[in-house]
Symmetry: C2
């Protein structure tokens, strides 16, 4: 008998979860780095982020194929099936976080070619830290199977939205005050929006974890800051 088949299903699921967690660690690092690339106008860092994104794409494909094989070979039921499908969904969300980080890194490159907007570096960095904390918390919830922690990430999404809204208004004020700032501000608008979307993916992952652990969708109306 094939050694692979002999491994317990539980062991395979643990390995799968470990690969998802590793992908999460890489996505988290990409998100932290892209904000730093914007704040420090760091061309080399931004280029490294763009290059590194391929690894996240490859990891998603790998997790997908591993799950498909697992379902086909093991025909899991109930809990095990939910854990396997969760892995596919979380990997999908992480891959998109990586895309958003890459897109921020590309804007960081464009921003180095124009005048810096120093007063906004602080707010962007703070929003980046907030979003990265959400991502870290939800990955903690995943690795520790902590449904309470997942719910807590899910319910605090409005903080990111509030931060985004205040940045949006601030950027518009700068644009109106000085037309030479418009190009930089337009890029920073998207940087802020991408960070908000990474926050949304953390929320999506929280929903997936909740469903995985409880079998119930998390559909109650979420406290929403209604992002602009």
């Amino acid at each position: 008998m094939n050694e692979h088949i002999v491994k317990s299903y539980d062991e395979e699921l643990t390995q799968l979860a470990a690969e998802v967690a590793r992908m999460g660690g890489l996505a988290e690092a990409q998100v932290a780095a892209c904000v730093e690339a914007v704040a420090k106008r760091d061309v080399a860092l931004a280029e490294a982020i763009v290059a590194r994104d391929e690894r996240l794409d490859a990891m998603e494909i790998d997790i997908d194929q591993r799950c498909t094989r697992l379902i086909a070979l093991r025909q899991p039921m109930a809990n095990d099936l939910r854990r396997t499908l969760s892995a596919i969904k979380i990997a999908g969300n992480l891959e998109r976080c990586g895309d958003l980080a890459k897109s921020i890194a590309k804007r960081a490159l464009q921003l180095t070619e124009i005048e810096p907007l120093t007063p906004l570096t602080g707010p962007i960095e703070r929003m980046g830290k907030l979003v990265n904390a959400r991502l870290r918390e939800v990955l903690d919830a995943y690795t520790s199977n902590d449904v309470e922690c997942a719910i807590s990430v899910w319910s605090s999404d409005h903080e990111v939205d509030e931060h985004y809204n205040s940045l949006f208004r601030e950027l518009l004020t700068y644009m109106m005050g000085d037309p030479r700032m418009i190009t930089a501000c337009a890029h920073l608008l998207f940087v802020a929006k991408n960070l908000e979307r990474i926050g949304d993916h953390a929320t999506n992952i929280a929903e997936v974890i909740h469903y995985e652990l409880t079998g119930m969708p998390l559909t109650a109306p979420r406290p929403k800051g209604a992002p602009l």
Copy 2:
């Protein structure tokens, strides 16, 4: 024996694909309507889009649960498993298209409260039509199992990006020319960006269909317009 179990697997998969196609039809309608709401400054239409988005959310949950049940009860192999997992992924992409259409509808509401930017209505409408055509084509590819058609959608993504880039530059020019236009232009920047992202989801769906039909990921470097 349960009537449900007696149904052939093929029949169940056909029903599942039909539900995904129906969800696709609704998503397509939402995307077309949100662009119209922006162009015609139509408050009632925008509000209807926001209200209707819940149906897409519910359909995604339903398709998800149906697939999970199907895998658990039928333990599909190879092709059938790929078809089932495809349905989950396509539904996920369509749900996000719906979210983006809802977000455009919300901006349409905010835009009705400020001065119209008439010269940009045409370009936004054209971009909306282009993106909607991509979505329609990829849904056609799905319902007709047409891998060539999926590849054609996937390879023409750069047209949407080019359209987006030209709109981005035009919007920046308006902002620089007249600071009173800045708020409207900032909203339209996001409308354009959301349309570009709906185009990306059409591309993602094309990748899912390709994998479903061939068992191979579609990973060749895609002709990219490198959106700003």
